[in-house]
């Protein structure tokens, strides 16, 4: 073919064929060739992702297993890490700072531990999301799969991590006198909503982090601020009650997604933490956040699908 028009190229002329004179695009169309690396339609993308569900599951489990494989205690750290985490927060906020204002004191430990675990779920999903593409460029540049597999896989890994934490949480609940009842069934939908929200957030930060890897340095500070503003270790209305703040501020803080999902799980598990502690319409807000961030994050990530892995 004489399509090699570049200077210095020895063009190899093929025998006269019916394809002679066609442009590349016409030739491609004639034989049904498609543009390599083009972004699939949104529906096709969802279909491809579904086809890769086994890879997504296997990848998240592999990451989870590999995490502690060098440690002597091995997988025991899955449970020990959240337990130690909760112990540190209890020492500082429960004992030193006495942050349990407005919460019955026998409920404070379950209140705190639930907050820490639920917030950690979102926090680590975001942090993993930032590095989902930028930290796996080798994979992105070597193999072909819908890139959303990576952030989804990482937030699945965090979900599995959370399930280990739930073992600790149940033990804490039992120790402080909250026993399983029907309301515990609400944990399922609450965590499901949070998982959808987290995945959306991970997708958003995966795209941003692939363009600006510096986010990995910045996000820990943003997330810590978010944690302190969400009432992980104190009750937002009780803490702001005697402060001179505008009336909308406690509402705003309570309706932020992290606070909403923490409150939903606390409400489900802790008997004394009843609906008087919850802001109104909390389930609607929880569903709204999950749908909004989940769908928007997915579309935002998909929009740059063909550009991941560049340079």
């Amino acid at each position: 073919m004489s399509e090699t028009t570049h200077d210095g190229t020895v063009a190899v002329s093929a025998p006269v064929s019916p394809d002679e004179g066609l442009t590349s695009a016409e030739l491609a169309a004639k034989y049904g060739l498609s543009v390599s690396g083009a972004r699939p339609s949104l529906i096709e993308y969802v279909r491809q992702l579904w086809g890769r569900r086994h890879f997504i599951m296997a990848f998240s489990q592999a990451k989870l297993t590999a995490q502690y494989s060098q440690a002597k205690l091995g997988q025991l750290w899955q449970v020990a890490t959240p337990l130690l985490n909760a112990a540190v927060y209890f020492f500082i906020f429960g004992l030193l700072l006495d942050a349990k204002r407005g919460i019955p004191s026998d409920v404070y430990v379950p209140f705190l531990v639930t907050g820490v675990f639920v917030f950690t779920f979102t926090q680590s999903s975001v942090l993993a999301g930032v590095r989902a593409i930028s930290g796996n460029l080798g994979l992105v540049r070597a193999l072909h799969f819908p890139r959303a597999s990576l952030p989804i896989s990482f937030s699945l890994q965090q979900l599995q991590q959370l399930l280990f934490s739930m073992v600790v949480l149940v033990a804490v609940m039992l120790a402080f006198g909250s026993y399983p009842d029907w309301s515990w069934l609400l944990i399922g939908p609450a965590l499901l909503l949070q998982f959808v929200f987290n995945t959306g957030l991970a997708l958003i930060f995966a795209r941003m982090g692939s363009k600006t890897p510096d986010l990995a340095q910045l996000m820990p500070f943003v997330l810590r601020t978010w944690m302190y503003a969400s009432g992980v270790m104190f009750s937002i209305p009780a803490m702001l009650a005697d402060k001179d703040v505008p009336g909308w501020l406690p509402d705003l803080l309570q309706w932020n997604p992290a606070a909403v999902y923490m409150d939903l799980v606390r409400f489900a598990m802790i008997d004394e933490y009843d609906s008087t502690y919850l802001p109104p319409h909390i389930w609607a807000v929880g569903i709204g956040w999950a749908l909004l961030i989940g769908v928007a994050g997915f579309i935002y990530f998909w929009k740059a699908e063909e550009r991941y892995g560049r340079g």
Binding site: M1, E3, T4, T5, H6, G8, T9, V10, A11, V12, A14, P15, S17, P18, D19, T23, S24, A25, L27, A28, Y31, G32, L33, S34, V35, S36, G37, A38, G51, R52, H54, F55, A58, F59, A62, K63, T65, A66, S69, Q70, N136, G138, L139, V140, R141, A142, L143, H144, F145, E306, R307, G309, R310, G311
Partner: protein
């Protein structure tokens, strides 16, 4: 000419068309090459201007390459280090977005290699499954091929190594397992990047035979290698890249003769 040999029949079906393809890498590094804090700061302050001013360096790796590959061809890619061979392969596979120009392909071309998907902390067994899934095989396919993969790698010849983490393998053993996983899948358009030179002599022979087998099943094969002998053995057409430009495109013997003249200079 190679193309005429198998191409005179009317059934010449193109599988890969590259049309004036340009690939540009962007590297975040000051022009001075220093990563100092002040350099980074001045880079941010100059934001909004073009990439060059902000100290983002462009590497124009592939410059205007065009060719058409047909079903049944085995095409070798040669050129000195950094001439853009691997970049071109990745662009054909759709893994690197093109700056300008387009690549049209029949189906999904795949690079032979799963290294990036494997995890050193996992056992060989789990890596076989993970690698297979990463390449897009189904769980059933992997189950069916599992024993074949392990036997081919020869990992278990010296004891039950497949149930040990991959970090305990010698580099040769790990390379053999990686190749065995990668070669387990059938491909429409297959691209091999220097994959022939792994393992000991015995394994090399086995992997060359496997590549010939894959070649027969695949529609079109691209092979990047610095070993002229393996190019001569496998390919009937050769693309010679130099500084990102297509310098020569033709039958293996002709191009290799010119290339050898060029490199011995």
């Amino acid at each position: 000419m190679a193309e005429e040999n198998d191409g005179t029949k009317s059934g010449r079906v193109p599988t890969v068309i590259a049309d004036d393809l340009h690939i540009v890498y962007r590297v975040n590094a000051g022009r001075s090459g220093k990563g100092s804090a002040t350099a980074a700061l001045s880079r941010i302050l100059r934001r909004g201007k073009d990439d060059e001013a902000r100290g983002v360096r462009k590497v124009h790796a592939v410059r205007g390459v065009s060719f058409v590959a047909y079903r049944g061809e085995a095409i070798g890619l040669i050129g000195s280090n950094g001439s853009g061979k691997s970049t071109l392969l990745r662009a054909i596979a759709g893994l690197l977005p093109a700056e300008r120009g387009k690549v049209y392909t029949d189906g999904q071309p795949s690079l032979l290699g799963v290294n990036a998907a494997l995890m050193n902390d996992l056992t060989g067994e789990r890596n076989v499954i993970l690698g297979g899934l990463a390449m897009g095989m189904s769980r059933e396919e992997i189950k069916a091929r599992y024993q074949e993969i392990v036997d081919f790698s020869g990992i278990n010849e010296k004891g039950d190594f497949i149930s040990l983490p991959m970090r305990t393998y010698s580099s040769g053993m790990a390379a053999r397992l990686r190749f065995s996983i990668a070669a387990a899948k059938d491909h429409d358009v297959l691209m091999i990047d220097e994959a022939l030179a792994t393992g000991d002599r015995k394994f090399q022979k086995r992997s060359e035979a496997r590549i010939r087998e894959l070649r027969k099943q695949a529609g079109t094969v691209f092979l990047v290698s610095h070993n002229n002998k393996s190019i001569r053995d496998t390919c009937d057409r050769v693309l010679w890249l130099e500084r990102g430009e297509l310098r020569m495109d033709g039958p293996t013997d002709e191009v290799l003769k010119e290339y050898e003249k060029f490199t011995s200079k």
